[in-house]
Assembly symmetry: C2
Homo-oligomer: 499 residues x 2
Amino acid sequence: MSRIIQKAACVGGGVIGGGWIARFLLNGIDVAVHDPHPEARRIVGEVLDNARHAYRAMMNAPLGPEGALTFHDDLAEAVADAEYIQESVPERLDLKHRVFAAIEAAARPDALIGSSTSGFKPSELQVGMAHPERLFVAHPFNPVYLVPLVEVVGSPVNDEAALSRAMEIQRETGLHPLRVRKEIDAHIGDRLLEAVWRESLWLVHDDVATTQEIDDVIRFSFGLRWAQMGLFETYRIAGGEAGMKHFIEQFGPALKWPWTKLMDVPEMTDDLATKIGDQSDAQSGMHSIRELERIRDDNLVGIYQALKANDWGAGKTLREMEDRFFERAKDSAAAAAPDYAAPLVLHETRVPGDWLDYNGHMTEYRYLQVFGDATDAFLGHIGMDAAYRAPGRSVYTVESHIRHLAETSVDTRLCVRTCVLGHDARRIRLHHEMVDEAGNVQATSEHMLMHVDTNAGKASPLEAPLTDRLARLSRGQRGLTAPAHAGRPIRDIGWPEPV
Amino acid sequence: MSRIIQKAACVGGGVIGGGWIARFLLNGIDVAVHDPHPEARRIVGEVLDNARHAYRAMMNAPLGPEGALTFHDDLAEAVADAEYIQESVPERLDLKHRVFAAIEAAARPDALIGSSTSGFKPSELQVGMAHPERLFVAHPFNPVYLVPLVEVVGSPVNDEAALSRAMEIQRETGLHPLRVRKEIDAHIGDRLLEAVWRESLWLVHDDVATTQEIDDVIRFSFGLRWAQMGLFETYRIAGGEAGMKHFIEQFGPALKWPWTKLMDVPEMTDDLATKIGDQSDAQSGMHSIRELERIRDDNLVGIYQALKANDWGAGKTLREMEDRFFERAKDSAAAAAPDYAAPLVLHETRVPGDWLDYNGHMTEYRYLQVFGDATDAFLGHIGMDAAYRAPGRSVYTVESHIRHLAETSVDTRLCVRTCVLGHDARRIRLHHEMVDEAGNVQATSEHMLMHVDTNAGKASPLEAPLTDRLARLSRGQRGLTAPAHAGRPIRDIGWPEPV
């Protein structure tokens, strides 16, 4: 499965540009960066650190190789052979126009150009361009490597095929592109945020609530709902069986109540700015910005995984991204000729923060999760995929024996070495060894796997291609010495003398 | 650990009242309900079904016994001995006044009275009351049994001690009360929602976006962020090390841009109402309302658990709720004299939706999670708590042998029977048997536990009170016959004939 594009270019780093760089890089796409800011490499590096931490925690799939990252003092050199170019320079129209002119002078004629702008319309950006039809707005949200939405906006001159292609590329990096049908100031998301922002400023200004209280209202009420369903769907449920239109008609009159001060905007005086700054310090000052970023990202990763369990919203986006990573890993494995004279390495992972127990180390059942994932990788390797299972064949684990040999810390990169200990027509006896980066054995497991007819609910013989691939594998591995502990029971330690 | 109150009363059922009933009931508090609506019992029953499903999935702790639920045609009878009374009748001031008068005539003098109103201020509600100081607004969010926020608002006549007591009671039901410091129309949350609602109506009215597009913008961007951090904290991070005040000063000028149409409100014509209804049907009509409720709640439960892994926001609220449930279970267990002549039942749980594998059954490692939780319950039972561990003593699992005997389905209520197979100065050999409601054995596990000095990183002898309690337990259980499979290895099945 090849990459959708070979090369992207990012003009402008910073937090937003850095997030785009991370998206491309971690999805195996080479990125050339041009940013004259003296701190560009450091800032991009920090964003990449955050992104790698988040992806390791979030993805069950192996991350695979990153793309190559290069920095270029010359903008023309950076964009020269890029198929997709993302602009994330400061929000000044004259600066953006100069940047687009420079890009056009050097880029491929078919290169797509997206702008991260929050405030300008595509038609404003396109003024003076030779080929405005390939420039569009692609407005992301912070942190770009984790928040999936990108608002894609065109003007009447835009080439629909180019916009579709741009969104296809964005999807391959795990983004969720949304085509905004008309160009308007601030697109959609920032308009909604501006509405909440204004009302919040009034509440602070009038001492009705502090920044902490407003934030807690959000994250303990509708903020939770909105991670998975938006405004209209939530109200549809509230409206019940009578339906959405009925709900609207009942709810309509409320709009005339003097509920909001939205008719007006409070003046941002120095006093108001200071008040907000002080309240924010009181609310969040116990953490540095880097700490807050890490907390935020760990939370977002968890929310992604929660929604993935239900294949919903952002969780579905994550699952699709994982499927692509799994595909790539499978292709890599298939391409490499496996050496069956040694234990197979089919699964790697890293220990995320939410795998720890009250002793502060990787908790017991996560070992079995890692071993289970290694068993799944083994089964995939011998040909058990969704197509094999579809008519009603599967492999169940009927017995597992785990030895915990070391305490495993957060962030440890684990790799599992697998060998077959024996097999017959229906069963496979498997051994896994979990090692850290230094090769220290963290744990071992031994499993009995049983091939089953899932319709009949009973054991059944393995079928092709599993039989052939397993035979080939076991011929190679039969020469390996079985680990000394394999085939042993848990030791009987008896009882102390009666008291 | 006794219940904070014995009895609550709910005047008005419906979706909101039903949510309050669920909160009290599932936290072991008796609830008397008065609602003259002919469908009251059915509607409340449906809310309780949803709530039970959600709590079973969400809570690792045993749910314990529910409170008693009674319906009363006579309001006076319903409120008579209630310590906390929650009103959730329709949003009509005259009706609420009549209800408060009837409550006051029959309630205890020290009963606290909360109103679920979204639109009235406490001073408006309090008009005509004999003791207005014990009436306050306690405004919840749908679904009340899951969304933690309750906005608590008083007027100048309110008794601060009564409000504090009310919030203490609300916290005991897993709510997150937020004291709103001034009474204003719609409190805080609904004002923010109204702001987004108005802007969204304009976007639909002007055909800039459909209901689906607006909802997707929300749930794929800032909705995800707001499940864990609010507006101000998010902006603080975006502002970086320069600080919040600097961010505000930079961001201030944007407020003057013509970004929003918030100066005005679109007229809710029949055409606009129909357009919204049709778009909502296209977006969400593939699911019934009950299905959407179930999807919503499963997502919210997952989000709660994700945040609990980081002890953050609503996740911290969940952990505190679980701690209370664990305490109650421990007290129940301590109160009951354990029968050590039989296997001990120390852990029960139910299989939630996100525990399933691609075969649609409980996935392999979750069995070890359940067995691990049973081991933790056993260790707690013999006295290993945070205080025992604090100086550097703990118990690690060094070996586990699991036999999977049946496929376990979602929602199955599991219980684990535990017995000690042997022990010496440093080690305990433990056996768990996992059964379903019908007593069918789903799986068994055998474990070797090792007592360790966590500072030295080596095995060490068990100490009091573990030694005494373990001795007492094992004397009782020594008579039990060890399961036949205990102490056996995973069977060696050899290799097929070479081809």
